[in-house]
Point group: C2
């Protein structure tokens, strides 16, 4: 690759967007028709509908149902080009994005939307043993481990070893952890019920460990209680105040208590993308950047930060790392760049909170939407409606609706395929 | 894992089936309700509908559309257990199947249905550079390489390097090679048309190289001509009598002629699964075993061979390595084991040839079915009907029909996702 692929149009202000998630994509869209030349960089060729990624990990949906090629989404927006590239860092003094391949790309405006990865409480060595859920490859790896654990248990005759293979630990009881635990319980109790001859999949033990005092901490108290009850009804052992102190080949430790588990899934801490470090500005404890109310940085007014990388406090409350925040910030960053390029003053970002939701297995959800607290079957239908509505691409909507309808009536999961590393060992 | 997981029921004759492809699956089904205990072993947890695998490689279908978990397919057949296991070889004297993990499984009857892999004309070192198409992982790897080649070309500014990235070579013009070439041409000319800003995907060069004198050698002459014409209409350069003498980092060589190509896909020679060697019986040039007319081995009458591993000559013609042959042989092997267990004489296998078909991109196919030679749009519709009909699982049928209908009218390919190894280099 040459040092600088150069802008699509050299005469216009050049906007570089790092990351094609909810934040970056909406920033690009907000610049449609503007007199700027936009370059969107991402490590993956797809935009991922992250809220449904756990359904890929639990074999309900296929990767293509929750992801679309970024360049396909933006194909009609002629002032945008999309490049598949790994960003190593930013050189804010030179106004260049440095690529891992060594090249760099000049910008007039930068939108940093590179998101977050999992944090292992200072124990990066736990990662191979307890994978997190951020990319399609992560989801396929989780799916592989879960399915291989059942397969290996079927061949195993030692009772203790079999017990360990049928023990699944999920660390972290935020929305991702809760949704994973619910879906895993349903796989074990329903989808696999008839498939094995030597093991009883429904005897699998599923533990949801949370260091804090609550399941679904950001939700209101009655919803937390409803969520916990729904999980327990599905047979999930919910343990709050359970701080994981060790993850190793045998399983996990909570202080002096050991839990033998072949499969450990990580849904706990979050750390902002390491690209933020290269800006040389102060970061918060999670590695995030706090911008001005306009989302621009005080030190570099041509740099905007959005989404999980952005530490934004409104009315004394830090905004959560959810899709809605990233989308709205992306849109605001895009419109502010449009204003800046036209010499107009920037506008501050305000978050419109439409609410939060989480599903717990089939037919149950909790939500706090438009000021209403809802739970149960109705909440679940509403969750389905919302997620189909937000999913990108008419085709994906049809396919996902078909899959869900089918799964609801048959309890089956069509995507129960082990790919990527074939046989035997469920662990790393 | 313990030395021998032991049969599900110790008192009944034990049938072990190695391989869950068309042959093995049909052998298991033919034993439904029989007084035997069946153990089916496979390296993968899924049965693959191989004739559509090239559509996963070319981003039209998702893995879950063409594969189903073997234990799900056989869940209602109570005398079958399915084990995920890598078979190292057979010990025919001891009547045991030896697993790669070291354990072994005793059998009274064995069905060897472990299929075939690609052969590289004595050049195994070409494999990483020119992957073949046998498993889901193979298909995802092909898809990754093809998509990454276009992505890398978009970033490349050196004209020769860009040319190389946009050159795709397919080696072997049997059904798989022809179908791959047709689908690749459509990706370049149609699906990606609007997505790039710097390259013109429709300028991609797609070469189909065949060592022999014909495209689709097993088909009748008029159909070969029709297939070649359809490919050329799609812009594929078809070269017959082109024997590949070298595959390296730059591309391929045909004698002294060099073709620079970033992507080389292998659809040529086939070699039977190496498990056949461990039998200690004579093998043919492709490593296959020639059984008695009953599909049992002369030396070991309790061992049956079916599918791509089986060299079967009927009326002076060697049967081709296609799904129909494997399915019918599997059924015959199962019914003969049933007869043997009941003390009845075995019956010889006879192949019912319903014909062969191949598609060339969207809206064209050639076929020789029920004695009729068909080509063009009608043949394509018939091809669709047949493949939907043979696909396992009502759900897969619905989803695949939806995908195809959508793709027909929009020219889009929904599964254009790069997974497994993220950025940059298309090759190994």
């Amino acid at each position: 690759m040459n040092p600088d692929p150069g802008p699509a149009s050299a005469s216009l202000p050049r906007v570089v967007i790092v990351g094609g998630g909810f934040g970056g994509l909406n920033a690009a869209r907000a610049l449609a028709g503007a007199d700027v030349s936009v370059t969107l960089l991402d490590r993956h060729n797809y935009h991922l509908f992250q809220p449904l990624l756990y359904q890929v990990a639990t074999a309900s949906l296929s990767p293509a149902d929750v992801a679309s090629p970024i360049r396909w989404i933006l194909r009609h927006q002629k002032n945008v080009e999309v490049l598949l590239a790994d960003v190593a860092g930013i050189d804010p003094a030179a106004r260049r994005v440095v690529l891992a391949a060594g090249a760099s790309i000049r910008y007039d405006y930068l939108v940093l939307a590179s998101g977050a990865a999992h944090a292992y409480f200072g124990h990066p060595e736990w990662e191979p043993r307890a994978p997190g859920l951020k990319t399609l490859d992560d989801a396929l790896e989780m799916r592989r481990r879960v399915l291989v654990a059942f397969e290996t248990a079927e061949r195993e005759t030692d009772a203790a070893a079999q017990r360990r293979l049928l023990t699944f630990v999920i660390v972290g009881a935020g929305p991702t952890g809760v949704e994973l635990a619910g879906a895993l319980a349903e796989i074990a109790r329903q989808s696999l019920r008839e498939d094995f001859r030597r093991i009883q999949p429904q005897s699998a033990r599923i533990l949801l460990l949370e260091g804090g005092p609550h399941v679904l901490a950001p939700f209101a108290e009655p919803l937390r209680v409803a969520a916990r009850r729904s999980l327990e009804r599905l047979g999930v052992e919910v343990r709050t105040g359970a701080i994981v102190t060790q993850v190793d080949d045998d399983g996990v430790a909570i202080g002096t208590e050991r839990i033998s588990a072949a499969t450990v899934l990580w849904a706990a801490g979050v750390a902002a993308s390491p690209i933020a470090k290269s800006l040389g500005v102060p970061l918060d404890r999670a590695g995030r950047v706090a911008p001005e109310p306009t989302l621009a940085l005080a030190a570099y007014p041509e740099i905007f930060v959005v989404g999980d990388l952005c530490a934004f406090v409104e009315n004394g409350m830090a905004l959560p790392g959810v899709a809605q925040v990233a989308m709205q910030q992306g849109t605001r960053a895009g419109s502010n760049i449009r204003r800046a390029a036209a010499g107009q003053p920037l506008e501050p970002f305000h978050y419109k909170d439409y609410g939060i939701m989480a599903t717990i297995g089939r037919g149950a959800a909790v939500g706090d939407v438009f000021g209403l607290k809802i739970s149960g079957f109705f909440a679940w239908l509403f969750w389905i409606f919302l997620h189909i509505f937000w999913l990108i691409g008419f085709r994906n909507r049809i396919v996902v609706m078909t899959e869900w309808g089918w799964a609801y009536f048959t309890h089956q999961r069509r995507a129960r395929l082990i790919t990527g590393g074939v046989t035997a060992s469920p662990g790393p």
